[in-house]
Amino acid sequence: MRTARGRRAAIPYAFLSPAIVLFVLFLLLPIGYTAYLSLRKVQVSGLGLGAGARREVFAGLENYRVAVGDSDLWWGMVRVLVYGGILLPAMLGLALLFALLLDARRVGARRFSRLAIFLPYAVPGVIATLLWGFLYLPQVSPFQRALRELGVGTVDLMGPTTIYGALVNIALWGGVGFNMIVIYTTLRAIPAELYESARIDGASETQIALRIKIPLVTPAIILTSVFSIIATLQVFSEPTTLSPLTNSIPSDFTPLMKIYRDAFARNDIYSAAASSIVVAALTLTVSFGLLWVLQKRAFGQER
């Protein structure tokens, strides 16, 4: 009797165990190890050559002090803010615009347009960046050649300021399609009666879009915003892939690039671990804070 109940009580855990094991092995343990590493450092003595010259010792919060006090990390964040400041409005604006256009009444080649806008999302970020990198470089780009032929001359698309445009463009090309599909799907779920009654009341297509469609897809817009913000904070592969092609992207261009450099180019996994935890804490705070504020405003009435 008792064992039977005990067995029954164990069943849910048996079902949960794969998830728990995977969670512990691949999420909790690595995070714990990172936290452990962030409290350690290497202590070299003398010339540092030969066996025993290098010991791993407890560092306390030194790595955190260095990480937080490093202006390069904060400059990286400023760059990400600039990048996100351009990217987010453009990304969501275009996604919404395309979704509304596709949803409008008289649109030809709807399936084709939808696919054509979505397709770049299927191209891996590194490949997309290489592709655009070729299109930016003056000697190999057909656009630059066309500009020269037209007498405009070569435009430096990867200069210190234009680099932001170059990066935003790559992210837009790859991301607009995905966000558009999310918004478009929500649009298709709006009951047609709403439009009919609006039309009977004499609303134009533009008015329907502004007064009915956009308010009703707000949850989808919020969702895509949060996705985009998280993706922006994690920007890494595009600038990393572009950096050998230009002088404008230093190795600490974004916080994640700096962490990667510290860990794998400078062999200092300890301070990289501390920086990762600082960046992860900030990212979590921003994402959850934003979600909390938006949720209260957008879904407030539903509760």
Binding site: R54, F264, N267
Partner: protein, 429 residues
């Protein structure tokens, strides 16, 4: 990615070790010694196959790896888990880093006898100026100047003998062919800048007693930086990175008509500027004062034995064979495109013919051998990776912001010293 590779390699190595143990336990005497070797040299497996066929007792398995800095990180990580391969390909500038991380074994017991096979400067690179031997030199990268002979002739130019003439040549090119540059100053190639600084007499690190002396901003290096700043400021050379699609196109269509590079340059030109076959010539590097004959090294690597290896003697034996035997050198030169470090190899049959891309310049390797003898010695420090990284960032910023190149050199110096002090090295100067 790196970690995944390391894990896979560790698993494979583990399997190899288990396999080795089983053999021993069988009681049939010793099975063959099995060695693992990480390298990035193309076709090096051909040389390894030749060794394995001739040495049934010592079997080497080569595993192809990413080149340069990535492999350094990978080996340090693997060594941290006691899973490093027996043998590893190491660029000279990474040797102190690996020795400092206790990755490389001192093989002087088995290898000090072969020092005569190499030029003194190269041997010094693998001993770090101590009594120990940490690797066997494989190839070297003496720097030289490549130029488009057809365009030089058209502009009635001759290869510049001094850097002063180099600047004049660059000016003539800009005047006569406004769409072309003689060269580019690349902020993404620290090894190139290090080589040029060596030629000017720089000594970035040296050991005095129990302390490192660091002087990356020494007068020689500042002089090199100022010189190139002058060229960039007057638009006499381009300021965009090398090894980009842009640069390849420029080499191929004659908008870049020269390249200060190293002995391995023909392979790069053949791959990146295929249309220009036979039109390039090689000349010694321009000199700082007339009549001098000095060059620096850009690249070059060695074969090291790790402290994790249980067969240091066998591994050393293989490393010596790989880098000094005529048979192996011929394979490395022909199939791997290397310029051998062993002095005997530089006059061997494999180098009798010029590289295919330079078929007109029949004395290519004779000249190369003469130039190689003039390479300046150099001591690398234990954190060259940090210095190189600082070069990319500091010079990239100097070019985009228009700040002085000498500031960039000072930045490199400061970043390097700070990193060493933070790690606890004793640093003076």
């Amino acid at each position: 990615m790196t970690r995944k590779l390391a894990a896979t390699a560790a698993l494979m190595l583990g399997a190899a070790l288990v396999g080795g143990c089983t053999d021993d336990d069988g009681g049939d005497g010793d099975g063959p010694v099995e060695l693992t070797f990480w390298s990035w040299v193309p076709n090096i497996e051909l040389a390894v196959d030749a060794w394995n066929a001739a040495n049934p007792d010592i079997q080497v398995t080569v595993s192809e790896q990413a080149a340069g800095d990535d492999l350094v990180t990978l080996v340090i990580t693997a060594a941290g888990a006691d899973e490093a391969p027996d043998l590893v390909q190491v660029e000279y500038q990474a040797l102190p880093t690996l020795v400092s991380n206790d990755v490389l074994a001192d093989i002087s017991e088995y290898a000090s006898g072969v020092s005569d096979e190499f030029a003194e400067g190269l041997w010094q690179q693998v001993t770090l100026g101590t009594d120990a031997v940490y690797a066997i030199p494989q190839d070297s990268g003496p720097m030289m100047f490549y130029y488009r002979a057809d365009i030089f002739e058209e502009l009635s130019l001759t290869p510049p003998a001094t850097w002063e003439e180099f600047a004049e040549t660059a000016r003539t090119v800009r005047e006569e062919r406004p769409e072309s540059y003689l060269m580019t100053f690349s902020a993404t190639d620290p090894g190139w800048f290090a080589g040029l600084s060596q030629q000017a007499g720089a000594s970035w690190w040296n050991v005095s007693g129990d302390a490192w002396n660091v002087s990356i901003n020494d007068p020689a290096t500042l002089r090199v930086a100022e010189y190139w700043q002058g060229l960039v400021d007057q638009d006499l050379v381009d300021d965009q990175p090398m090894y980009t699609p842009e640069w390849n196109a420029a080499l191929n269509d004659g908008t870049q008509i020269g390249w200060v590079s190293a002995v391995w340059g023909p392979g790069v030109l053949a791959g990146n500027a295929a249309d220009t076959a036979g039109r390039w010539r090689m000349a010694p590097l321009p000199q700082w004062s007339e009549g001098e004959h000095v060059t620096g090294n850009w690249g070059g690597s060695s074969t090291g034995v790790t402290t994790d290896s249980e067969h240091v003697e066998a591994a050393t034996e293989f490393a010596i064979w790989l880098n000094t035997s005529p048979e192996a050198i011929e394979i490395l030169v022909r199939e791997g495109g290397l310029y051998p470090a062993a002095t005997s190899g530089q006059t061997g049959p494999a180098l009798a013919e010029p590289p295919a891309f330079f078929s007109e310049q029949t004395d290519f390797y004779e000249l190369a051998s003469e130039i190689a003898d003039t390479a300046a010695g150099f001591t690398w420090g234990p954190n060259v990776n940090v210095t190189y990284d600082a070069y990319r960032d500091a010079f990239g910023a100097a070019i985009t912001d228009g700040t002085p190149f000498t500031d960039a050199v000072n930045q490199m110096h400061q970043t390097t010293v700070e990193d060493m002090q933070r790690q606890g090295f004793t640093v003076t100067g």
